[in-house]
Symmetry: C2
Subunit: 310 residues, 2 copies
């Protein structure tokens, strides 16, 4: 038997209302687990996938974790290969960075097994290749926080410029995943190619305010900044009762509430854990009342990124 | 004789490359001076204006400082009036917040004389009314830093939400004002009403990066973030040799270089005073070589806003 490791990588909330394509953060739960074992023969072999309902490909070149690991191996002088067991512990196509969590877990596990030739930030491009496969574009707003933890800003894609953002301690997130399907590609296509300059100004005032609020630990400023006048008005049409959920969550004390990634999951940020739990309850009831099954997750902001599991 | 005070208010750089309409900072020099004296009779009387080449109106309702002072008085129970002497010590229509400096100086002086009923941030709306007169719109990205000092974010205009941003100590600014005319109204009209979403994303990545860079005191990040893909490509057409000036300044070590406000002044941010001085020299030579007279100003970021002069 070769050297073996089990890794957990967290789910992530991308976009964060005003930070479309540039901002994301990691949450403690849910997340994916991978087991990776080194083998002498070259190549990455996906041995088994659980928790995906049979939807994910085990062919390495079509699997996000496999692609991320192969990209990493290419940049080292390691001549062997790896076997992978992938345990999906979160819903697919939920807007919670499911493919990113697998990519991050794979890249992180491989890096650990090869005695850490790369930093967390250096793993991002490998995991982005997995994202390219899943979304048709190499986005980093899920993989970067999945690998680095906390809030992460992708200032630029060309060249890639990743900035970890300080996160105040008492910030909690509730995520609700209603059992409806929204494909990332559709969610992108619904967006307009041009936006009014006045809306863009509003948005960059808010994203600047959010970053300042996080550094100043100013929850009021964070709350006022968590607004999206560009993407949410369009994408929320794909999520039944989004407006009702959002209004009820803000009324119950959420700092802000928006679409997680391209949806259909909805995130809420709160200053207190009790508020986050209460909001999960309120949101689940609204979906239940309209006959939609949902899963809720409440956790602190994940500050670690992937971890090795015992 | 009534109670009398002399006040200096600083020039300001609005927009700051990636922060169109939401960001500005104050510089130590140049700036405007006002002398304000209380009088028993109601009304604000502009006694004299110097340094304006006879261009500014002394009619109170048409003068930015006068308007700001009247707006302030309206919100108090003060029943008297004030006499004003305005000394313009900076070029008009330069993109350095000339009208804002006068508005800020007037509002600040009046507030001092009435024993400070308002905080600096509370003075902003009064000074904005002066800006409405000067620009046709009540912008705050010059008056807010003129009143508060440092970098200031205008997160939102409705409601007005002003956020002071921490400024690293060793940040210097060079401003060059070429003797060419660009009216703010023209500079606004040249802009497109819609912009590509991809450009907006680039811009809000940069403004988020700039705010993070200021808080992290990360000069490399500040430098990488000082880019404007939306406004500068259009407005720079109004400033001859802008591209040459910018390229030479970056080559000489500027962190970034862009249009100050709506121009024609150009600002450069630098990490060292010697670099800022060297850049002023290089820029002035480029304009001189093309037969354009210019004034240069090099200073630290102003951290105080207006001050009472002895």
């Amino acid at each position: 038997m070769g050297k073996k490791i089990k890794v957990f990588a967290p789910a992530t909330v991308a976009n964060v209302a005003c930070g479309y394509d540039v901002l994301g953060f990691a949450i403690d739960s849910p997340g994916d687990e991978v087991v990776v074992e080194l083998k002498d023969e070259p190549g990455v072999e996906i041995v088994a996938i659980t928790g995906d309902g049979g939807k994910l490909p085990t062919d390495t070149t079509s699997n996000t974790a496999g692609v991320a690991m192969q990209q990493l191996i290419k940049k080292t002088d390691y001549e062997g290969g790896a076997k992978v067991w992938l345990h999906k512990k979160m819903p697919l196509g939920s807007g919670l960075g499911s493919s990113a969590a697998s990519s991050a877990a794979g890249a992180f596990a491989m890096n650990q097994l090869l005695d850490k030739p790369f930093t967390s930030a250096e793993l991002v491009p490998f995991a982005m290749e997995g994202e390219r496969l899943a979304c048709g574009a190499a986005h980093a707003d899920n993989v970067a926080p999945a690998l680095m933890g906390g809030f992460v800003l992708i200032r630029s894609y060309a060249p890639l410029d990743i900035v970890p953002i300080d996160t105040p301690e008492s910030l909690y997130c509730t995520v609700i995943h209603p059992q409806i399907e929204v494909a990332t590609k559709d969610a992108r296509q619904i967006l307009k190619k041009d936006i009014p300059l006045t809306d863009a100004v509003t948005q960059w005032g808010n994203v600047a305010g959010l970053i300042a609020g996080l550094y100043r630990k100013d929850y009021g400023l964070i709350s006022r900044s968590l607004q999206d006048v560009v993407i949410e008005p369009v994408r929320s049409l794909l999520i039944p009762s989004f407006g009702e959920i959002k209004a009820a969550s803000l009324k119950a004390g959420a700092l802000g509430c928006g679409i997680s990634g391209s949806g259909p999951s909805i995130f809420s940020l709160c200053q207190h854990q009790e508020v986050a739990l209460e909001i999960a309850h309120i949101q689940a009831k609204i979906f239940a009342d309209m006959g939609v099954t949902s899963e809720t997750y409440t956790s602190a902001i994940n500050q670690n990124g992937p971890i090795v599991m015992k």
